[in-house]
């Protein structure tokens, strides 16, 4: 058994790490997983930076940003596997919800909701809580507003708050809304003082959310262990993606040593049946959060390039530098190497056009493989070859 230490933040999408340990997928690959629960993303970043942990459950854009040296201690991190797609929800205060209701804006209507937010933000910046400044939460929010023709800086004020304190922030009127990872969206909606207005999947139907981040230096020195780790996480993600496993998955994640929240909150997002408000309105969003095999976890370089294209200016670096870091971080070559002897489908390409699939579609691969839907709310088609 080789010991590997991984950090995680207690969120539903840490599932592949937790399941790899709990259900023996890691052990089967000869790995003894040591999971350390962290209370903030900075702590994960710092521990990765000095090599105290070999890998972590990490926000996609953070992996790219670390390579770019945007944090206090630069460290080259790679992302050989994506943990999940989607999972975030946009939750508003009751006051905002009432005004949205008056304006006739219902659940998951990103265009009218975005225009409404812009209108509000023109007089006073609309304050949205996000868990970390460099996150898909922030990237997606900015993309949403920018796509509606407005500079997000002019109307949005993104405030960093830990997920567990977002609701307090609403109550204290420090923020008007927040974008938060599962299960905190469902938890908030059942708390009687918040309303789910939108899932992040309404903006981009197949947004990569968290990756397994691995220290590049360690991965280069231990390719065998790194590949075994990818396989363990892959198999755990495949297990977590099956509908019949969702109740057990929710029970395991709910334990006090992992997320320590009610299993029902976790299961809501997994099943796609979301409670939206204190009245108990329910909506069905099948792709609210997705785990799975290659259709979810293949680290498409085009996903990383989309993030780089969105964030280069905001991060204060040239697009070329951001794109180079993106393709050095997302590593389909390692995914392929690790999964080559298994029955995991491997696509022929490493980049794809993002946002082109309106529905589930078969793609060229060595085995049956389908992707999608992956559309953007504004019908953007992102071709990485043309990205400027």
């Amino acid at each position: 058994m080789t010991e590997v230490s991984l950090g995680y933040v207690p969120l539903t999408d840490a599932a592949p790490l937790i399941i790899a340990k709990e259900l023996g997928f890691a052990q089967k690959e000869g790995i003894s997983l040591i999971l350390t629960r962290e209370t903030n993303w900075s702590a994960i970043r710092d521990k990765l930076s000095v090599g105290l942990i070999q890998g972590a459950h990490l926000l996609c854009p953070m992996a790219i940003a670390m390579r770019l040296g945007l944090g206090p201690i630069p460290r080259s991190i790679i992302a050989p596997i994506v943990l999940n797609l989607n999972g975030n929800t946009f939750v508003t205060s009751l006051d905002v919800a009432r005004r949205l209701d008056e304006a006739g804006i219902g659940f998951n209507q990103p265009k009218p909701l975005g225009r409404w937010v812009i209108q509000q933000g023109k007089s006073q910046a609309f304050r949205v809580g996000v868990p970390y400044p460099i996150s898909m939460h922030a990237t997606i929010l900015r993309y949403w507003i920018r796509s509606l023709g407005v500079d997000p800086k002019a109307v949005l004020d993104l405030r960093v708050l830990p997920p567990s304190l977002m609701r307090e922030g609403l109550e204290a009127r420090e923020i008007d809304a927040f974008m938060v990872g599962a299960p905190f969206g469902s938890e908030a909606a059942e708390s009687a003082d918040a309303v789910v207005a939108m899932t992040s999947s309404a903006i981009w139907a197949a947004a990569p959310e968290k990756v397994l981040a691995i220290d590049e230096e360690w991965a280069d020195a231990n390719p065998g262990t790194g590949d075994a780790l990818v396989r363990a996480i892959y198999n755990a993600g495949l297990w977590a993606g099956r509908n019949e496993n969702h109740s057990v998955l929710a029970e395991i994640l709910a334990r006090p040593e992992y997320l320590g929240v009610g299993a029902s909150h976790i299961e809501q997002m997994l099943s796609g049946h979301l409670t939206l408000d204190p009245k108990g309105s329910i909506a069905s969003v099948p792709d609210a959060i997705r785990f799975g095999g290659s259709n979810v976890s293949f680290p498409w370089q085009s996903q990383a390039l989309w993030i780089a294209t969105q964030e280069a200016e905001n991060w204060g670096i040239s697009l070329g530098t951001a794109k180079a870091a993106a393709t050095e971080t997302f590593r389909p070559d390692i995914f392929r190497r690790a999964m080559s002897e298994t029955d995991a489908p491997l696509p022929n390409a490493s980049q794809k056009v993002e946002g082109a699939l309106g529905r589930k579609t078969t793609v060229p691969a060595n085995r049956e493989m389908s992707l999608g839907p992956d559309y953007f709310f504004d019908a953007l088609v992102f071709d990485p070859a043309l990205a400027e």
């Binding site: 900075s42 702590a43 710092d46 960093v160």
Partner: protein
Amino acid sequence: MHIVVVDPDRERAFQIVDGLSVDSSLRVTVLGDIDGIARKLTSLDPDVILIDLADPKRDHFEQTLNAVGATDRPVAMFVDKSDIGMTKAAIEAGVSAYVVDGLKKERVLPIIEMAVARFREFDRIKKERDAANEALAERKVVDRAKGILMKAKGLSEEEAYSLLRKTAMDQGRKIGEVSEGIVTAAGLLS
């Protein structure tokens, strides 16, 4: 030099203050919470900020620091980016230190070293205390289980204890676990 210690744990904060008070050229301020630090930052004008690595509000705190943004605010974390050993020791001990960029290394290093030592010491004492509390709780439950066995089976204290110990050994469990089972069962049956 002005050091700001942010720590909701009063006991640990005071230990750090104690450690810093050896150097009379240091001014130390303790804040119990990160809230409102943005407003206080200008008036506090700290050279070094020490904060628990695991504070849930640390991401929020970093955003606040970056937003203030002036060059004379502590933004660079840790003493020296080339000195990874010290940084690693600090992160391992659970201290995050924000230092004004350009501050002399020989001035800052002893402060960080002291904070690391105090964090470690605090952690050690806490672990010892937790272990002692656990041992005490176990002794209490074993005593109660002994009492239950003595009454139910008419055993002497010594016989009751040997029965507990034998059962624990046979089942490969801790004596405390076996005792807990007896106490729980007795509670249900009474």
